[in-house]
Structures are given as structure tokens and as C-alpha cells.
Symmetry: C2
Subunit: 229 residues, 2 copies
């Protein structure tokens, strides 16, 4: 069936995101370097902490910042200074204040898509922060809907398709995360287009079987939809 509705992931599909996390993680390593010897893999400890805390915190910058602080306390055996903890808080605040930078091609492609299809942003993370990002992106007016969700799984996509009264066969989801943007959508009976981003958070890593259409840039999406949609 013909595509009528295009779902769009936010972070690292419409706007840059993971690189700010990576930059904060680099600053985190630098701040802790005076405290830890080479035996401690700070990155690995942070990833383990994020994994453990995910069940309580969910996704987003606030939970990430809390995990930075908790990891810092652990790897320094409590010796981390108040000044360093404040620096970690400031890393988080800086991420929340970060101006939205659209991914290359988004600004010119989304208006083209909006002429032909109903567009729905489907994004996860902190509700407050994602709403601010969307408002700052100047894309909001082109969207038929915005769904900020706690998790992008089968139940979530089914709920969204019902809410907008969309036949899954007419739905294509576009995003950079195989785990969140591709696999659950295929399971829901929709189609998906993968636009990989150079950085992927460890907790998002997943693979598809190679049969999922993959584009190098969102700029290729209108032609792909024209041909395959």
C-alpha cells in the first residue's frame, strides 16, 4: 500500500544528540583522571551504571547526569570533590541548554515531505527537554503529531498507529536506531528506513538482517518514498 504517514525519530535523525553525550563523557573522563589509576575503565563503569539505572531513570539527560555523579562517587571511592560534582551537574545543564542543530539535509527535506505525507515525530527521552528541542527546531508546525514516549517498543508503536488511525501498511518509520526505530515497527506491520548516524549509544546498539532499506542521508528519503512507498 502507498505510504501516507512517515514517522520520524528525533535524536540523531532530525537533530544532533549523541555527540553531546560523547563530549560530556570525554569531559567526565578528564575530570576523573586525577582520581583514578589506569586499572579503572571509567567508560565501562559509566555504561554499567547507566544500564542499571535505566529501569529507574528511563532515557534522557537528567538520568545521564545522575549516572555520571553516581559513577564518579563509585570510581573515586567517595573522594570526588564537591567542585567536580558541580562540574558534572554543569555538563548536564549545558546539554539541556544546547541549541538544536539540525542534521544536514533536514531543514530542506522535511518541508518537502510535509507536502506529501502526514509526519509524526516519535522520540524518547525527557519530556520537558524533547518538547523544548522540538520548539527550538522550528519543525513543529510541519508535524501532524509529536509523540514523546518513555520507550519505543511494539506496544508504543501500536498505540501511536491507533491514536492517529493509521493502517500499519501505510506507515514508514525513519530513524538511526535499529533497536528503537526499525525492529519494533516491522513487528507492528509497518515499514522502516534506516539512516545510520556515526555515533550510537551502547544501549541502543542492535542489528537488522540487512533487508532494511538504508539511506546515507535524509535527503535521499523523498526519492526513496517516491520509488518504494
Amino acid at each position: 500500500m502507498t505510504v501516507q504517514v512517515v514517522g520520524l525519530d528525533g535524536d540523531d535523525t532530525l537533530w544532533r544528540n549523541e555527540e553531546y553525550f560523547a563530549a560530556s563523557q570525554q569531559a567526565f573522563r578528564d575530570l576523573l583522571a586525577p582520581y583514578v589509576n589506569g586499572d579503572i575503565d571509567v567508560d565501562q563503569r559509566l555504561e554499567a551504571k547507566e544500564r542499571t539505572n535505566l529501569e529507574l531513570f528511563g532515557y534522557g539527560v537528567k538520568g545521564f547526569t545522575l549516572s555520571l555523579i553516581e559513577t564518579a562517587i563509585e570510581v573515586t571511592a567517595g573522594r570526588v570533590s564537591g567542585a567536580v560534582v558541580q562540574s558534572l551537574l554543569d555538563l548536564g545543564k549545558g546539554m539541556l541548554q544546547q541549541p538544536v542543530e539540525l542534521i544536514e539535509g533536514v531543514a530542506e527535506t522535511i518541508p518537502l515531505l510535509a507536502e506529501r505525507y502526514r509526519l509524526i515525530v516519535v522520540t524518547k527521552g525527557d519530556l520537558w527537554n524533547q518538547e523544548q528541542k522540538l520548539a527550538r527546531s522550528s519543525l513543529a508546525d510541519l508535524m501532524a503529531g509529536v509523540e514523546i514516549v518513555a520507550e519505543k517498543d511494539l506496544a508504543t508503536y501500536r498505540r501511536i498507529l491507533r491514536r492517529y488511525d493509521v493502517d500499519p501498511a501505510t506507515f514508514v518509520m525513519v530513524g538511526n536506531s535499529v533497536r528503537s526505530d526499525i525492529l519494533p515497527v516491522l513487528e507492528a506491520g509497518g515499514r522502516a528506513v534506516h539512516i545510520p548516524h556515526e555515533l550510537t549509544w551502547a544501549l541502543e546498539v542492535a542489528e537488522h538482517d540487512g533487508s532494511v532499506p538504508t539511506l546515507r542521508s535524509i535527503k535521499e528519503l523523498p526519492a526513496w518514498l517516491e520509488e518504494n512507498g
Copy 2:
């Protein structure tokens, strides 16, 4: 017009909430007592910090926990120990793990209301946490919809009324916060019923002009709707 849709606030209307914040704040004072002399009003400093951070963090436990940590660093001039910061993290985690305790009367009243009206929960706070609370509340199946929102203002209520295709004249919102549950709903053309809770967060305090119907318990709501709805 006859009431067809009842909006229900979550925190401190359906389930207990503010008392956990108050208990955490008491623990916070106790943890900081050895560091600060009587000249520093820790509560006032925390409230000021929450107010400043609100624009970045929005509502919910994660932002509260970050504000606890930042206030602790400030009032101790950076001398707060890693162990105390970990205790503050643990306060936040404890709040997120808190079993849901329904307010008295909710468990028996909501099923009665669900027989007569479409019920929509409208709640703010951390998306992840609010979804978990709703799931743990065993009320989810009785709801026609759940809206977890970043802010409960006029634009939000208008969006929800549109989304569910509700004539404002047939809508009643029920909640404990005059600022979030009452005033913006009246502005949107709906009605509102105030069920005060014994504790109200400083940033939520507002007053109405006395003309808003006020009930002592949600148990009085079915009869009130019968008579006035």
C-alpha cells in the same frame, strides 16, 4: 451541558506524592545539618534552586534529585562528602521505587466513575516514572486515555480536548493543584473540581476565587457529578 469526560490529576489526587518529597526534604536537612550553621535556611535555598532549575529540568523526581545535590554543594561551599551525595542519589532512587499508594477513596470511586464517564489522567512529571506509577496503580485499564505532559497550562488542555474530540463544556477536571488543575481548565472553557491535598509544593501554590467547587474527598465526586454535571 452534561459532563461526559472527567480529567483526573495523578499526583496527590489519585496517588500519594508530595509527602514523599517532604520526607526526602527532611532527610536532606538531616544529612546537611552537620555542615551548616543556623544562618543558612536549607529549605529556602532548595526552593530557590528548584525554581531556577525548573526551566531546564521541568517537573519530577530526577530534577528534584539534581537540585538536592546542587543545593548541598552550595550550602556546604563544596565540602559535602561523596557519601552524602550518594545518600541524596539514594533518596531520589527510593522515590522512583516507591510503591504506588492510592489516595483514600480512589480504589472504589474510579470504577464507579468509569461506568458513566470517559476518564483521562492528566499528569506531569517524568514520563518514565509517571508511566510506571500508572501501571502500578492498577487504574490504567479504567482510563480512556493517559496524558503525561510537560506542563499543565491552557495550551496543554486545549491540545488534549482536541485530541480526544471533547467539547470543553462537557469536560470536568479534578485535582488538588489550583495552578495546574483548576485555573487553566476554566480558561479553556471547561469546569473544574478542587480536591485539596494536605501538602502542596511551594511552586504549585495558587488560589482560586472561592467559586470553584471543592470536595473533601474523591468519594464525594460521583454524587457531585450526578447533581451538578
